[in-house]
Symmetry: D2
């Protein structure tokens, strides 16, 4: 870390800072410049305590950390991207996975129609929410246990691996019995307690980026999970909150490129929650492939205008089929392949 | 709601929309304009399902809700601000409450020094975190149960009401045994499951605004709590995330003015987390008083440079004493008063 | 427009609103609902004055416009994308144009080296700034007239069309003598006076999106230009300002998809200013192709570490050559083609 | 500046960086740490070129500047706040100035009514726009020369100093003939060419913060003005663009506290453009006084619902009178005074 002092520090001031630095386990190197004096604290920032506390001293102008704070997921130490096995389907290998399904599980009929839409398209993992966190308490919150039951029945019939969101620790066990992968939604991306408990199940976790999380903070949320000994983590960019109102969230594809570069976990993209509108999903999905994502998660509903949540962003089966055929050549060009079609 | 159709709808299109509107329980009124045809759906939006789903239809350009979605907390129906009793101290009456204490409980000695700093200043409620949600898993996460024990001991000795954060449902009982008021932090502001369980304890809840929550969404989070039958809710503005990097968060005092106008719950301000730096806390605290806040929550540490979390934003006892004397005349001018000093 | 009244309006209130509506040239249709009464103002919002002024009346809760405010550039009325001729190269037809060159013109030697780098790569338009708006008055502001002279000399030698930024009306003539296309930078995207004068030259204009402009506002800036009778306008997305600090700006590719859908002007992407760092430019460029952009503008410098402005985001000739070969198959897949290589 | 190298630099890498540092006029001090090696470049960053260019080298991870980039306006070197004389009224001394008037000059009758509203209230400077930059080309753009004529007539009759916006260099002379202070609006806050020409007139300049400018960038815009030899600059915070949609802009009072601390220019606040709605102006104005602002600029219109621009945010004379009486005691408490009332 670099401690920048205010102009004109006395010798005593400098000695005081140096002592603070030493006490924290670093070696101080003081450099007196014409305009500013800085004290460099030499040592592994991941090992020792932060010196940011020194900002509270009157003589300190700023404290600048120089290391990244995540290490278990850093590509620097893990050059190869992790492969995460979700019920037999691999995310993060050379396969481009498209996870698809309705925002919320509404009925068995709905799920049967959805699976029919997925089949033959190259989508091999099913999504569907039983527990839905909604901004208003008056909106549909999911079928809960009944939703899990339907999800279980769907899975038994068709054999597809399933991703489903978990919003509270006490539901982890029941969701985990049905889901092959636990989804942590954007609203819970900094609910570290839920993150740790989800990691402890040993199941693969799909970690969405919080709507106001920097990439650095998002990777630190992933570090929370991996620190519990679970490396089966997939990151998901789903748009961030900005001043733009024409879309629900602003899809941040530079975050995908950056996450792929900085960390060794697979990264997928959710164009449905980003756009919040069907008409932009196909171009954004193509861009996600091109930027290097390892997959997509998209919302598909057999009858979008009757959907009980997020209707404006769910694709119809026909639209989904178009999406899949449009992205396929981009996937191939990017050097990945889509899972074998089912018949 | 107003459904705006794309240009040139056919008669069939309009009939289709009108049927959708009727099916949802509204009465449709169609107005054909030169450029756009709109269908007004007449009925109580709080009673019937949203029609936003119609956005998924090809012929619909936009759907505009016209009612606010919260009602239990709306000032329209509750003209008087609620008074929330926190261990004998009232928030939301004519008293301006300053909740103060360290970011994290670190030791009994620390807490004793903090209480000494509070005494005689006009601060009558103590804060202190035992469970700290931190962006990095390598940062100090609070003393947990030991922290609660110290908080309990401090409370027994000095008789001050205590506010403490809760980050997981399974801790609610233990935190509730010590704390007079449960704090929901910014990172959990949309963790609706935790909100509902916290409300169910019947205890007063301090609800911080999420760092990317609009005022409307923040009030809906409060509606979640009140819908469980608990009206002892205090809102807390603590800064939002913007592009500005000179402060930790951007304090949004228009949100305070707006929340006071739209809803009947008391609103306090946290200048410590907003600024993230000691030197701006006093001017922001004065502004918070002037804009109409019902109180403050500020961080005070006997020795900020040794604090184990958020050192740059914790006031020393001397700085805190200055803050309190500086804001006192503003509080009086605003027509409120500070609690009687203790001797 | 829809005027939403506050609860419980009197008959007189409604008559008053209806008169306001009629006076502005609209036909009022009043719909009394259980909870809210709304007055629909029927008429072409592009013809008549806005009724937003009614928000200032005590009895009005909200005024909702329902039409888009741009019409000259709307795809609704201009289904085909405009083709803009820049010194013989077409932007907006089936060709994918890559405009490339240094941030600032620094010397003739530099420009000669840059042109050598462009040649054979599929880049047929040269960029280079003579006037540089810089955040700090102490940073290099461009070579100004000397820069234009060098640009002119480069153009004479190699015959490439040239794009150069204009930052003040009084420079329009001199920049226009050299440049085949005038660039309006992000900082001037709402400098409407400069926009109008630039349009009046009749030259093609490259309009960058302001760093805090919504897509709607950006298109209205374009409408300013087209309203002067100049349809040779190309839009350029270059990233918006958000809370993310790992990149200089957040590239908003949904804005590209949206602008392509809503308006009939070509749209290109500037990954250099978005990322602000070389290592993300190639993946972002591929994503821009895939999302449907009509071209790119990228910064190339023969010796980036010696660049006098924006060094961190300028590609070396070798990196540029790699970029061009990496995007070529994506361009072909998207159904466009790159200009013929020069030998 | 601090140059942080990537892990494992060779001796040659370090020598190469040290040479770059020396060539730019700094003295290099290299510190080899366990995890990262840093090179501190010692020297006045305001004198020498930036080393940020080194970021383009493969071996460099980051470059951290440690000095502020403005110096002419820094409070560090100018402890006392400048006093700016606007036609006999001082901004920045102990007087709290409220600049008031309509968004746009519409007629002489309007201006006469406005002045009547100002009189006796403690507002001693008139505002009124003749040139209005508007987001849509179809909105009212001001009366232009006719507006200036009315402004001149108003000034002759009543003797009030006048502030008016200038949006293009070629208007500077004509606006300057009437206005005692030139306003640079938010949309032109980074139109450095206009800033320099405005400064060159020698007239006082009111510099609004750009809607996406950091405080640091805003102060650098002010530095542009002062660097031309004109110290009669007043800063104006008017809200920034965030994700919040309930207000037009988010008023950032921490920016006011920060600007007052960092720089020696007076700072005023525009609650009208921030809120964009009349009902929040009084609480925000009080907060602005309390945070330490040197004045306000507010919009007042004799008949807001008939205003030709920004109707929702203009106060009626009655509302303005209430504002002035409500803020007066806060002004006194803050140790400032309002100008003597006129009779």
């Amino acid at each position: 870390m670099i401690i920048v002092l205010k102009s004109g520090p006395t010798d005593e001031d400098i000695v005081c800072i140096e002592e603070h630095v030493r006490r924290a386990g670093y070696e101080p190197h003081t450099i007196r410049g014409e305009v500013r004096t800085v004290v460099a604290a030499v040592g592994d920032e991941a090992e020792h305590a932060s010196l940011v506390s020194l900002k509270s001293l009157d003589i300190v102008e700023n404290v600048l950390p120089i290391q990244k704070r995540y290490k278990l997921i850093a590509r620097e130490t893990h050059p190869e991207t992790a492969k995460v096995d979700v019920g037999g389907q691999i995310i993060g290998g050379g396969t481009f996975q498209v996870i698809a399904g309705p925002c919320a599980v509404e009925s068995l009929e709905q799920m049967v129609e959805v699976v029919a839409a997925l089949n033959g398209c190259g989508s091999a993992i099913l999504r569907g929410g039983a527990f839905k966190p909604r901004t208003s308490p008056y909106d549909f919150q999911g079928l809960k246990s009944e939703g899990l039951r339907i999800l279980h029945e769907t899975k038994s019939r068709f054999g597809l691996p399933v991703v489903s969101e978990v919003v509270r620790e006490s539901d982890l066990e029941k969701v985990g019995k049905v889901a092959d992968m636990l989804q942590i939604g954007a609203r819970n991306a900094m609910n570290y307690s839920l993150l740790e408990r989800a990691a402890d199940t040993g199941k693969p976790v799909l970690l969405k980026r919080g709507m106001a999380q920097t990439v650095d903070e998002w990777l630190l949320s992933a570090e929370y999970l991996v620190k519990r000994g679970n490396r089966n983590i997939v990151l998901c960019e789903r748009g961030i909150r900005t001043f733009e109102t024409a879309v629900r969230n602003t899809l941040d594809l530079s975050a995908v490129a950056l996450a792929k570069k900085e960390c060794a976990l697979p990264v997928i993209v959710d164009p449905s929650h980003a756009a919040g509108r069907v008409d932009l999903i196909i171009p954004l999905a193509k861009a996600a492939v091109a930027v290097g994502a390892d997959g997509l998660i998209v919302e598909v509903h057999p009858h979008p205008s009757e959907a009980r949540s997020d209707p404006a962003q769910q694709l119809s089966p026909k639209q989904f089929s178009l999406l899949m055929s449009e992205i396929r050549p981009y996937v191939e060009l990017s050097g990945k392949k889509m899972p074998d079609m089912r018949s």
